[in-house]
């Protein structure tokens, strides 16, 4: 059995009489892309800061790559892109990555190689001699991501990595996360963009008031198919009546049927039935529950309360 990338046991943080994180218990396996979801003020950023040794827990324990938090040998294998990325803006892109590589303890030759490789990867090679203060928000986020990957980490924390990015930038981050997953790097992703989480993560944890209230495999979303929309011509009353054998709750709007089904297993049969009835099908769309719907169902409309 491999050491988990992250393991926390009842991690708690109080600021004065305010409880920021109530008791966080979770485990992230190596090579997993793990989504951390919750409303604003749920303690997500504080949890990440505790794991990285920036904030001291009030009680509880946590381990990164098998070592207790704050262990320097394990931090050498961890990358971090903070939420409010503010960097040494008087440095050029080259100098910035060199600084962080040096702090990771990388050798000079390795550092230079990795620096050039990452600038190329995040699309900033042409700006290598420009100071960061001339960078746009999106460019800063990309150079910040490069900084987090300098040491070829085994585990990366990305706190809202796409918040400042345009669609092209978001696509880049998503592709990089996919590459990391293929390389076996664990990614701990805190994001409000549920669609991003939906595409990139293996598992997600929902947290509220600093407690994990649900952990879900993303593949579970696909098994929860409950609706089907069919757009077709030739939806005769007989066909519609036939469709009712899979679900009573059925609505017909001229050339479109929307119906409730029992699950994914019904789909092939319905499809076969339509073909046999010589219905011209233009669209056959199973609607699974979106992550957003699960989010609201799990955490409530109001989020914080």
């Amino acid at each position: 059995m491999t050491t988990p990338a992250i393991r926390t046991e009842d991690l708690r943080k109080e600021f004065g009489d305010k409880v920021a994180v109530k008791g966080l218990t979770l485990q992230v396996e190596q090579g997993e892309v793990f989504g951390f979801l919750g409303p604003n003020g749920a303690g997500k950023t504080t949890s990440i800061k505790m794991l990285l040794g920036l904030v001291a827990p009030t009680s509880g324990a946590a381990f990164l790559l098998g070592a207790p938090i704050g262990d320097r040998a394990s931090l050498a294998r961890v990358g971090f892109l903070p939420e409010h990325f503010r960097f040494q803006e008087w440095l050029t892109a080259h100098e910035f990555l060199e600084l962080h590589g040096e702090l990771f303890g990388m050798s000079a030759s390795d550092l230079k190689r990795r620096r050039d490789e990452l600038l190329e990867r995040v699309g900033l090679a042409d700006f290598r001699h420009k100071q960061l203060r001339t960078f746009s928000k999106g460019m800063l986020q990309r150079i910040g991501l490069a900084q987090a990957l300098m040491n070829r980490p085994a585990l990366v924390f990305l706190d809202e990595p796409t918040s400042g990015l345009d669609p092209v930038g978001r696509r880049l981050v998503r592709d990089i996360i996919h590459e990391l997953r293929e390389e076996g790097t664990s990614v701990f992703l805190n994001s409000h963009l549920l669609s991003e989480i939906e595409i990139t993560c293996n598992r997600v944890a929902f947290i509220k008031h600093g407690e994990v209230i649900r952990v879900m495999e993303m593949s579970a979303l696909n098994q929860n198919i409950s609706m089907l929309t069919i757009r077709a011509s030739g939806l005769t009353p007989e066909v519609v009546a036939g469709l009712r054998q899979w679900g009573d709750d059925l609505r017909l709007d001229t050339d479109q049927v929307t119906m409730t089904i029992r699950g994914e297993t019904d789909l092939p049969e319905i499809n076969r039935f339509l073909v046999e009835q010589k219905v011209q099908v233009f669209a056959f769309t199973p609607n699974r529950l979106s992550l957003e719907e699960v989010f609201i169902e799990t955490l409530g409309q109001d989020g914080v309360q």
Binding site: K49, A56, Q88
Partner: protein
């Protein structure tokens, strides 16, 4: 050690890129220019008024006068170096904590103390450049104009530098838990206290008032910056003015070497306190 040096270099680079060094050098040169030009004309008219008879006495008087003006210049240098130290230290940790710049640095495999020591070393090097340039410039311009060189320059200018480092260290320490503005307020307040305490001690010493001297010593223990200047002035003043008594920029009640030792221990203690506070604080 490597991380401390990396962060010291970063601090120096920041000072250069953010034009702190440029501003310091330009203002320093303006100060030196005004000092030399002013001093040049004062010296010419003072020389003209001194009677020509009795050359030994004349030279003695001249040297006393020159020495006093030079100490006045060095006193200004001390203040400027200390102010530079206070400003450099004030916003450094607090500013980076508030902006969040510190987060990606501290999340690296380094000790938090590396951050404090690295910044401290970077600023100490900067202050060395500034302080020695300014006091060296003052001493050289006096020498060029009059041919006069005070005794014991090196211990004197080193003590002036030490005062700037002391103020910077205090500033860095307060900046580990206060905002930049609050730190500036506290440090200048302490500097003022030390200044007043120094004068109370001097005047008390002239009037042989023991209580006033004690008050001065207590403020020196609270913040020993002014003692460093008074020791520096003592090193560089002429033996005659020391023997004659009070001059505006000379010193009568001389801080002992023990006080200098105390100032160094105080500085180290402050730095350790900065490390300890920064180690325990949530970022």
């Amino acid at each position: 050690m490597k991380n401390i040096w990396t962060l010291a270099r970063l601090t120096l680079r920041e000072a250069i890129r953010r034009r702190i060094v440029l501003t310091g050098v330009v203002l320093g040169l303006i100060f030196l220019t005004f000092f030399s030009v002013g001093f040049h004309f004062v010296y010419i008219s003072a020389s003209a008024e001194v009677p020509t008879s009795g050359e030994t006495v004349t030279n003695l008087m001249k040297n006393e006068f020159v020495n006093m003006i030079m100490l006045a210049g060095l006193y200004a240098v001390t203040f400027l170096s200390a102010a530079m130290g206070a400003l450099l230290g004030a916003d450094t940790l607090s500013g980076e904590i508030i902006s969040g710049t510190i987060q990606t640095v501290v999340a690296k495999p380094i000790r938090r103390s590396d951050v404090v020591f690295g910044k401290w070393l970077g600023y100490a090097l900067l202050l060395a450049g500034y302080s020695f340039l300014m006091s060296g410039g003052t001493v050289i311009s006096v020498r060029l104009i009059t041919g006069f060189t005070p005794q014991d320059i090196l211990p004197g200018v080193t003590l002036i530098y030490l005062e700037a480092v002391l103020i910077m260290t205090i500033s860095l320490t307060f900046s580990s838990f206060l905002s930049g503005l609050a730190t500036g307020g506290v440090v200048f307040g302490m500097y003022g206290l030390s200044f007043i305490g120094g004068w109370v001690e001097q005047i008390g010493s002239v009037l042989h008032n023991e209580t006033a001297v004690q008050v001065g010593i207590v403020t020196s223990l609270l913040i020993p910056s002014e003692s460093l200047w008074r020791r520096a002035a003592f090193e560089m003043q002429s033996p005659i003015s020391a023997a004659l008594g009070m001059s505006p920029f000379g010193t009568i009640s001389v801080p002992s070497p023990l006080m200098i030792g105390y100032a160094i221990i105080y500085l180290i203690g402050m730095l350790m306190m900065a490390v300890s506070i920064f180690n325990h604080r949530d970022l």
